[in-house]
Structures are given as structure tokens and as C-alpha cells.
Symmetry: D2
């Protein structure tokens, strides 16, 4: 991850995280290791637990432990193990965290529940996931958020890469690896035209599929029209499509009634979040191979269900290193920002990453593409009323 | 403009603008006429002047006058005429405006300068243009804005249509009408990868051009990379390109030094704003036909300059009715919102159009595409924590 | 036209057409002038008439005459003038043509009819158009073709440029100039998926239109499917589309019954050949501006008919110089080939341009794009069994 | 494979292959089983061997044997086994083949060498592969071809699907499965712009890669330009690209000198034919996982070589059933054509599949896409001079 390397290098030996004591709770992977080493090189002490009972790469956990990091995680933890690990991570004699890096909100939740006093020393929370961010906004609404929190999930760079650009590739990859389907000429309906839906639609259209879109939001609906997709209700096309893809973030988007009307061989999968979009609980399935089930009707009609309706791109393709690098760099910068912010800049609220930091994350990744940024002249900066080093856009710019 | 018709129809005889006295200053075109009739049908009284000395369609002005509207404008006004018209529009016995609809800020400026007391009765300003919005933010910063103002320029729907979708088509149209250039295989550099730049790049790439991009903002730069464009500094490619297009909103993006290095026959044009992007003031030109000049070097090298560096899409192509309809509908809704807002909702500040109104504008245009929106079930709305009628997205969503 | 210049240059003073006496019958335009000068520079004597009564550029004809060429043509000839010019062109004392360059077959037809003895000296015919080529094949079938003829219409390079690449641009240009229609979100049906249809479909899809295709040939139909277009019968979509484009080369593709079922405002145009595709003869029309008619139904429904059903790209857009250059270069090379071919290479039949010449035309146009061709090594040429200078593909390769 | 089913059904109980004795030598897969069953249902007797020592699916071979077919093949044959199987297949008492279905020419070669007298009874050869077809043309040139042969490799339908449409998907699939590379923003050079190269370029461009093309044929080169690709020599870009893809059909396209100049991490793979395109014989490699080798330089630079330079799409992705169906249907029709052709239609030469059969293959696959073909009216057919059932295009049409 050259961006984190560049970040270290640009620090030029300074330690912006000197004195920081970070407890983290994320997937334990090779990329996380590089992040922890970077935080450490920038002056922080780190203790870590896993945010998911399955995703820990044991060899990475072992290597980190050998390297002197306190890591509490292994692949295949039980529910009890999971909370025990988190507890061991934060509850240690003679060491109190002053920063939280969370992915999903479980660590934050645990501290709230068990060690609320810890928040007196904590300078801030950096939260990665949709779910964790949602919990923080609820805490904030309820007036219970007692430290500043940084919502890195909604930073522009991360959003575009996690969703639009990453899904544009992973929808193809996930479908090919599981089904070997040919895309050319296939009829596909994509439910939802947010960033994920836009990525899926663009990729499939480019491969020669005929794509229909469903939407609830008229703005996104109009964008789908202008991008060349027929905007329909699911029922209008469900009998004719070869592939159904959900990316709404909603629940029960595809239900039994739809499955009943699909044609034989139709492929159904989910690119949205969690596993709520396709209501497949009570239907009889037959596993044909890893991540692929056939739902078989009495008349022998078969529906091909991928990843049991869970996220196709997490289950059946890989997340490119480049995307993980954007996430890790964003997290590191958010920690630095919160830790070093002057008193009063951040209150007990949820914040988006400052535009300038978001731009900085992007700039650290440009060398990968041998991309050459233009600099404003003094005269131009003055004309635009901008600082030559940014931020270049208003905060709401996407 | 069926969307304005639909707006009227949905009002079902109610008069949300009853009592409103609107002074407007926009281009006087057939579309403006429909807008004025709509405002009138919704209960408003209207007086209008032109925001541009060239753009008035005299037959429209005449027809409006015949129809009983007070319109002060003609094609080819002098500078003095221009301000006389604006003055006649606002300065009338026994009638005081309570709403301003402005495009460029000249009308607002005039009232500030000549009739500041009018603001006591004015409930709000609706401003259309980049320049006008800029002026309003400056007033606001300086603490001099004395009524609420609605920045309709930055509403999502308008931005996407005015910039991304409209420019995707008008860049091709403008270049073809002026030069008959074949796009296939041409090397093109597009300066700036905002919405306008994104539209230009997408269109030219689709037509088989090889497109390079320059950017100052690392986030937009990274997007250009992911969309498949080489990110360069202008100097790196200026010798080899066949077409140079500016869309930065900046000044002096293409200067004499660049022109000197371009190859014979290179086409130079501006899709950004105003006429500042290309510095062509002192160079000897020869008009070869309307909107097309040749800049000729002593060694006979010719550069083809379009529209003297002014906006290509305004000068050399047409703005589709559909785009104008989006603008007019947005303006009408903004007037209704400001006029009917309960005391205290809006302070002396500049506001973006509420998300819900933005979505409403979009929804009024969906029937044109025979597009069928999906409705949330009660259960889904509850799950998402949304009202079934929207707004569906946070305000910062683009 | 730099390709013709390059052709002259590569001849290095040799005169491959020394002794050639060419009678030509083509559009008389600036490009034709360059062709005639090139033929002359390569040693030929030329006499020319126009192949169309409207298309002559009088100033070009005048300049050619001044330059010593015998040109018989003016803009707006009568039918009688037309044949008189052709006759003057061929029937001259003390000069007998030995090569024919024809576009449409009228010149060839005239000589057949009036001066059949001339064919004794004629070494060959180069024919440009679909119609002219069709006539030659009929002569050949009937055993009446008495000299070799070169069908340059079907050379790969010409076909791709005249049809696929040129139409990809001119369909957009023609529609914009006549109707200012916005392409995004529009539903379009394209009748015919040959090269012209492929170009139209690709362009409109790229601009965000939803495109349906009709076809009679299952191979082209399958290609349409793989390229992402719904293959339908015209009746299935005629009620819902915004634009109808014919490019079949057939007759009565759009008939009264279809017009009756189109929706209000539907645009109808022809990119195929001649004016047979849309059967509009007996319908009442109103001219709204040049090339645009409204067909108005008793219930006020309006259909927008472009160019009266004649070729949209010829009537309402321009043919890029680049495409004309390909044509002229192909014609010049075909003349050289036929004139210099050893006895017996060509019999009394219709021939396609030899692959090698077709490749040569292409190679003369590569410098325009700063394109760098790779050369085979001796070892590679041997491995492939090819001559290093081509031809590189079998004759049937497209 | 519904197309073969449809073929059987349309035969309506007739046995166009009654009396045919087919020896086949192809990959032994599930699709081949369906082909053999189809041939059998149409009246043929079949004996089969494998054309490749690795590709036999043992369970398919077993099932065919159980079903009464004589199949001589297993996965992992030795060289000796291979020829023994072929010999057993053809050399059997009391049974003499009268048709050959070959893929690669080994079966044909064996009969020529060992049992030349068999050709007295053989009515024709159907050959599938580039290599096999090449051998047949050489036999023909040498005057040694003693029966008619059908080159099904070059039929339009097969070419487009095997090459253009299939590779458009498999290049992405092969790269993702082996390297998880993100395509967005990557610089890629594609060597060769034939059908395979066109497919690769279109896919990668659509995914946001920046694609350069090398070509030896000026016609293909010009097409690359018009499609928006920079045409370069390999040396011009070799230092900067992230991915190198060969699809030339040539040898030594990427050689040591190129590998030396590539940047660290560059991915190199072959989509052309055989394993000659990349000269990697003598370089030290380290296998990192199946199909992926690292070539490591003394300075630690690594090149990622896929499939040892063999065909990426065969080694690292799957061929869609749809493409296999096209091949099998084409083979079946070619057998029927040769077997039933009246005396004298085919001489001792190599033939392309008649256009009408090619169209028939396509038509059998349209129902998969719910594609509705338009039928000519009598009047239209007459106008075009075509039979209503085709063929619709001249033989050279691609």
C-alpha cells in the first residue's frame, strides 16, 4: 500500500500520533497490519481486536503479535470469544485508550456499556462502516455521544471507490466466478441506482447486457434515464430477466412473489448491504457449489441464488488492494485529525472528514496512475478565492 | 414544458403564490413565458426585465406584453437601456415586489443600491446563476444579506442537467456545427474534470477520441483516472492534441505560450464559464465564419478559435428544452417554498433548495421518459427511517 | 487531403498514369479538384462531368477550368444539361478515354448506349456507388460487361468509413441540427444492423438513448443482441419510441400503418440508401424549416419527418473531409491498378480492390493520427507466411 | 445447449445423417456429449477420440461409453496413449468412417499417414481449429487434399463468438481470477487488433483502463484509431504499462528486451494462439499459485506471467456454454452439408460454411435472447433480389 508509505514519508520523522493510544476493531488482514505499522511509526500505541468472527487471517495476527502488537483475534471465533477479545483489547491494567478506530460499532458499544468512564480520556472515534455510523448518529440524536466521532464511511474518496468503482468491477467478477454466465445479450434488472447500482449498471451495459433499473428516489431515477436505462417497477420485467441484482440498502426488495415469477435459470444476487434485500429464508435450496444454491420449484424450475443473498462482492470476488488502501489511509488521517485538532474544533457530534483531508487521501493515490496534478498559479487561486493547497470544493461536493 | 403544466395541475386550483409580487430578471424566451404564465396561474403578479442585452426574443416579449404582463426588454439593448429596463421593472407606483427571481444578480444589486428599503417587504431571493450565487454568498459573509436567498444553481437536478447531461451532448453539437471535425481518432485535452468536464470527456471518448484531462483537485483527478483518462499537465500534451477544451471556471487556463505550441489546425474552445479561460485578447484573428476565427501565425500555422473563447454551448449549439424545463420548474418551486415558509425556517442566509423539492422537480420530469418509480412499502420506509414521500437522501448527496 | 499528397510524394516523380485518359463523373467539389490534380500529377489527362445536378460547387468548377481541366458541370443543371455535359465530356475529337471513373453509373451507361466502340480502348471502369456497382454486376451477369471494373464501394476501408465511422457521428449531428432533440433517455428504434445501423446504435447508446433494433439477417441480429440491443419487430415498439431511424437499404420499412401508431412528436428519419425506406408519399405535410416537415393528424398528433425521408446524413449534416479523402485515395489507386495491371490479371468482370491496395489506402491515412505501425521481422513474416509489406489478411476479411 | 435441441426438433424425425459414420477427434466434454447424441439422433454412427491429452472429462467419457458410444480418451494421456486412442478410433474391423470431424488436424493427419485408402469412402472433413485449417490449406496447395473439407473455424458466427464476444468477457475474467487487479486507471497495451484484440480493448476501455494498441495491418490500425486507441510500437509504451496482452497469432511479439524494460509488477499474458507470442523460455520463474508465475530480476523487479504464456482464456477463465453451443451447432450443420451435398458441389478443396448455414446457426441461437427477427415481405425480397429465407449477405460479408 504505497499511499500509507507515502504518508509516513511525508511525515518526515515527525510523530503526529505521539502519545496516541489507539484501540482498534477491524478485519485483521495484511492491509490492517500495514495500517497498524503506520500508526505505530507515526507515534501511536495500538491494541486490536477483530470486527468479524470469520475474517481474521491467522498468519497476520500471529505476525503482528510477534512484532510486538497486542492483537486479540483468530479465524472462527465464537460469539463469546468475540466479546472476550474486545474486552481484553480495551481492559488492560496501566493503559487507557485515547482514540477508537471502529468498524461496525461493536467496540464503541462495548466501551459505552462496560467502561463508560474511559470516554473521559478519549479524544475521538473513527468509524468505518454504514452500520457503525448509523449507530453514532443515533447516539448523537439521543444526546448520548460524549466524544467527537469521524464518519469516514461518507468521505467522497472512500464512497466512490468502495461503491462506484469497486462494484463496477466486482459485479462482473462475482457473477463470472460463481456462474460463468455470458453477459452479452442478457437481460438484467438492477434494483437501486445509487453508487453501487451505477457501478453495476455501467459494467453490465458495457459488456452488452440490456439493463433495467428500479428506483424509489426520483433524482436517481432521472439519472438512470439519462444514462440510458429503462426505469421500471420490478414486476414489469421480472418474468423476462436473466439476472436480478439488488443494491438498495433496503429490505425485502426481492420477495417470494418475485421468485415465483422468474424464469427458469434466473440468477439472483445482492450487491447492497447485509442480507436483507432478498427474502429467501423459507425456501428450499440445494447447494450446488460454494456460494451457489439452486432453488428448485415443483415443476423443476430452478433459480440460481448466489451467496445466500449476502453480499456478492464480499463473498464471491475480492476487494482490490487499491480500495483497501484508500480506506486505511482515510482512517489514519482521520485519527491524526481528531487527535491533533485544537480544543473546540470538534464537539460531541459526528463529523465528515474535512474536505482537505479527503483530497489529501486522493492525492496520495495519484502516483499509482502516473497522474500529474496541475497547480494553481497565485493569480488563479486569487481569482477563484481558493488556497493553492485546497480544499478545492465545497464540503457538499460529490 | 410538460413539467410546469403538471405542476399547475397538481396544485389543483390552489394558489400557493396568491399575493406574491415577483420581479424577475432572466433571459426572455418562450420558456420564460411559460414560467411567467405558470407563476400567474399559481396566484402571483409578475414584472420582468432581461438579464442579458442580446438574448431577448422580441416576439416573446411582445406576446407577453399583449397578454398583460409587464415586460421591459428587447433584443440589443444598450448598457443604459439595460439598467433603465431593470429600474422600470421595480420602480413603479403603487406596487412593491415581495419576491425576487434573478439570474446573474443584477436585479438584486440594483435594488440593494437604489431601493434598499424594498427589502423590508421582500420575503426572499431566488438566484439562478453561478455569478449571482457567488455575489449572494459574499453579501452573506459580509453580513449584508437582509433576506433569505435560495441558491437554485446548486440543486442536484439542475447541476446534473445543466452540466453533465447537457454538456455531454452540446460539446459534440457545438464542435460539429462550427468545424465539421470528425471525432474518431482525434486527440483531445479537456481542462477540468467537474460535471462539465465529465460530460465532455464521456461524449468524446464514446465517439472514439483519445482524451487527456488536466485537474487541480486530486479527488476529481482520481475520478478521471478511474474513468480511463490520462491525467496530464497541459504542457505535456499541448503539442500533440487536435482539440483543446476548457471547463475549469478559472482564468488564463490556456495562454499565449500554449497557443504558440499547438499544432497547425488545432481547435480551441471553452465550455466553462464566462470568457476568461482562454487568454486570446491580443492575438490577431481572422473571422472565417460566424463563431469561428482563425488565429494565424507568421509561418502560416492556424489555430481555430471558437466563439472567441466564450461559451461554446451557448454560442454554437442549443440548450435542449428539457434542460430549460428543469430550470424553470426549480425556480417556480423555490419561489413557492420561500413565499410560504413559516416564519423562522429561513434566516438571512443563502440556502440550497430543500432535498424534497429537488426530488419533486425530478419526479415531475419522469413521465417524459415513461419512467416508473417504485414506492416504498410501509415496512420498508420504517426500516430505512424514511418518509414514503421523501426526502430519500441526505442533503449532501449528489 | 494529405493522403493524396502522400500518394504523389511516394510516387517520387514516377508517372504511373502516364498515357491514361480518364473521363470522370463524380460530385464536383474541392476534394474532387485535389483528386484531379493528383491524377494529373501522376501522368493522366482528365475530363470531368458532374454525377448530380445539384452538388457542383461552381467556384471549384471554375477554378479547375482556369487550371486547364475540361470540366462540364454547374450547380442546378436540368436533366437535359446533365446528359449534355456527360456527352461533351466523352465525345471530343482527337481524344479517346481509356479509363472511366464513375459514381452512379450514368457515365458508363451513356458510353454503353452511345459510343460502345469506345470500350475497345478502355482498360477499365472504377465505380464508386452502390447503385453503379449494382448495375455493373447486372451487366456482368448478363455477359455484357466488356472491360474489367473495379468495385471500390466495397473495399474494407471505404465501407467502414463511409458507413460505420461516419454514420456514428452524422446520426447525432443530423438529428441535432434539425431538431435539437436531447438524446439522453430517449427511446429509439433503428431498423437494420449493418454497418450504418451499428454506427447509429453505438452513438445513440453512448449518448444515453435506449435503442431497439430490427433485423432480417440472423447473423446481424445476433450481433445486435451481443452488443446489448433488444431485437424486436417494428410493431412491438412503434407506439413507445421517440425516434425511428431506417438503415436497411430496403423499401417500405416504415409505412403508413407505423406512422399511424407513432406517438405525438416522434421523429422519423432515414440513414439507409435513397428515399425508399419510409413510405411518405401521400401524407399531408407542413414544412416547418429546411429539411424538417411536420406530418399532422386530424387529432393534432405530429410526426417530425426529416429530409423528406431522404438520407439524413447527406441532407442535414456534413461528410467529414477525412471520409472524402479515403474515397478519393481509393479511386486513384484503383485507376492505377487497372491501368497498369498486366494483361490477363483482370477479365471482363467486377473486382474488389486488391487487399494490398486497400491496406495501402489505410496506411496513407495513419499519419493523421500520429499512428505508428509495427513492422514484421523477417522471422515473423516467415512464421506467418506473409510478405512484410502485406497483404496481411485474406480477401474476405472485414 | 438448446440450439442443438432445436436443430433435432426442426429435423422432425428425418435422418439427414442416416448412414453416416463419423470419426471425431475433439475435446471430450459435456458439450461434445450433446453433439454426439445429436449426430446419433440424426442418424449417424460415431466413434470418438480426444484432441488434447489433458482436457477429457472422465465422467463424460464414461457416461458416453455406457450410453453405447465408442469413446477412446481419458484425462492425462501420454503422447503414446494419445496416438493409440486415435488409432483405435479409426482402425476397427467391419466399420469404415465416411466423415471426419477434427479439431487440430491430428486425426486427419493419422489417417493420411496410416490408412490413406480410407479416403476412398470419406465424403468430407469438418475442421474446427486454426491449426487444423492451416494444415488443410497446405494440403490443398500441395494438391494432396483428396476429399472436400469444411473450414468451420472461419464461419462468421463462430469467429465473432469465439473471438470478439467471448474474449471481451474472458480477458476480464482471466485477469481477475489470477491477479485480482483493478482495471480502472490501469495502462494496458494490447498487441494485435483483430477480433480478439478488439474484444480485449473494448472490455478494458469500458472498465476504465487506458489502452494502447500495436498492429502490423494498416486497416486494423486505422480501426483502432477510430475506436479511440493510440496506435504505438510496443517499445514506445513498454516502460509505462501495467498490463501487456498479446493477441497477434504471431511469434516473439514480447521478447526478453521488452521484459527487461517493463516496470515492477507488470502483468504479461497471451490471448492469441498457442504459446509462441511471449518468448519466456529461458527466464527464471517462481510459481506463486496456479497459472501465476513471478519472473524476478536481480534488482527484485517482478513481472507477473500468467499461464506461462499460454492462452489465458483457456487456462484461467471458462468458455461460456453459449460459445460452445455455437461451435457444436456449426459442426453438426457442416457434417450434414458435406454428407448430403450433391455430387460435384464440393471438390477436393477447403470450403467456408455456406452463408445460409452460417445464418441458420445464428437463427437457432436467437430464442435464447427472446430476439424477434423481422421477415421480408414478398415485395421487399423482390426489391432486394433476395430469397426470403436467406442468404441475406454476400459470402465475404463479416
Amino acid at each position: 500500500m504505497p499511499a500509507l508509505m507515502a504518508l509516513r514519508k511525508r511525515a518526515q520523522g515527525e510523530k503526529p500520533l505521539a502519545g496516541a493510544k489507539v484501540v482498534g476493531c477491524t478485519h485483521i488482514t495484511a492491509q490492517t497490519a500495514v495500517l497498524m505499522e503506520t500508526l505505530s511509526a507515526l507515534g501511536a500505541q495500538c491494541r486490536w481486536a477483530a470486527c468479524n468472527i470469520y475474517s481474521t487471517q491467522n498468519e497476520v495476527a500471529a505476525a503482528l503479535a510477534e512484532g510486538g502488537f497486542s492483537v486479540f483475534a483468530w479465524k472462527g471465533e465464537s460469539e463469546d470469544d468475540f466479546w472476550w477479545c474486545i474486552d481484553r483489547c480495551v481492559n488492560v491494567e496501566g493503559w487507557q485508550p485515547n482514540m477508537i478506530l471502529d468498524d461496525g460499532g461493536d467496540l464503541t458499544h462495548w466501551i459505552y456499556k462496560k467502561y463508560p468512564n474511559m470516554f473521559k480520556k478519549i479524544k475521538g472515534i473513527v468509524e468505518e462502516s454504514v452500520t457503525g455510523v448509523h449507530r453514532l448518529y443515533q447516539l448523537s440524536k439521543a444526546g448520548k455521544l460524549c466524544v467527537p466521532a469521524m464518519n469516514v464511511n461518507d468521505s467522497v474518496t472512500k464512497q466512490k471507490f468502495d461503491n462506484l468503482y469497486c462494484c463496477r468491477e466486482s459485479i462482473l467478477d462475482g457473477l463470472k466466478r460463481t456462474t460463468d454466465v455470458m453477459f452479452g445479450g442478457k437481460q438484467v434488472v438492477v434494483c437501486g441506482y445509487g453508487e453501487v447500482g451505477k457501478g453495476c449498471c455501467a459494467a453490465l451495459k458495457a459488456m452488452g447486457s440490456i439493463v433495467y433499473v428500479t428506483e424509489i428516489d426520483p433524482i436517481c431515477a432521472l439519472q438512470a434515464c439519462m444514462d440510458g436505462f429503462r426505469l421500471v417497477k420490478l414486476n414489469e420485467v421480472i418474468r423476462q430477466v436473466d439476472i436480478v441484482i439488488t443494491c438498495t440498502g433496503n429490505k425485502n426488495v426481492v420477495v417470494r412473489e418475485h421468485l415465483d415469477r422468474m424464469k427458469n435459470g434466473c440468477i439472483v444476487c445482492n450487491m447492497g448491504h447485509s442480507n436483507t434485500e432478498i427474502d429467501v429464508v423459507k425456501i428450499w435450496k440445494r447447494r450446488v457449489r460454494s456460494q451457489v444454491d439452486h432453488i428448485i420449484w415443483p415443476d423443476a424450475k430452478r433459480i440460481v441464488l448466489l451467496a445466500e443473498g449476502r453480499l456478492l462482492n464480499l463473498s464471491c470476488s475480492t476487494v482490490p488492494t487499491f480500495v483497501l488502501s484508500i480506506t486505511a489511509t482515510t482512517q489514519a488521517l482521520a485519527l491524526i485529525e481528531l487527535y491533533n485538532a485544537p480544543e473546540g474544533r470538534y464537539k460531541q457530534d459526528v463529523y465528515l472528514l474535512p474536505k482537505k483531508m479527503d483530497e489529501y487521501v486522493a492525492s496520495l493515490h495519484l502516483p499509482t496512475f502516473d497522474a500529474h496534478l496541475t497547480e494553481l498559479t497565485d493569480e488563479q487561486a486569487k481569482y477563484l478565492g481558493l488556497n493553492k493547497n485546497g480544499p478545492f470544493k465545497p464540503n457538499y461536493y460529490r
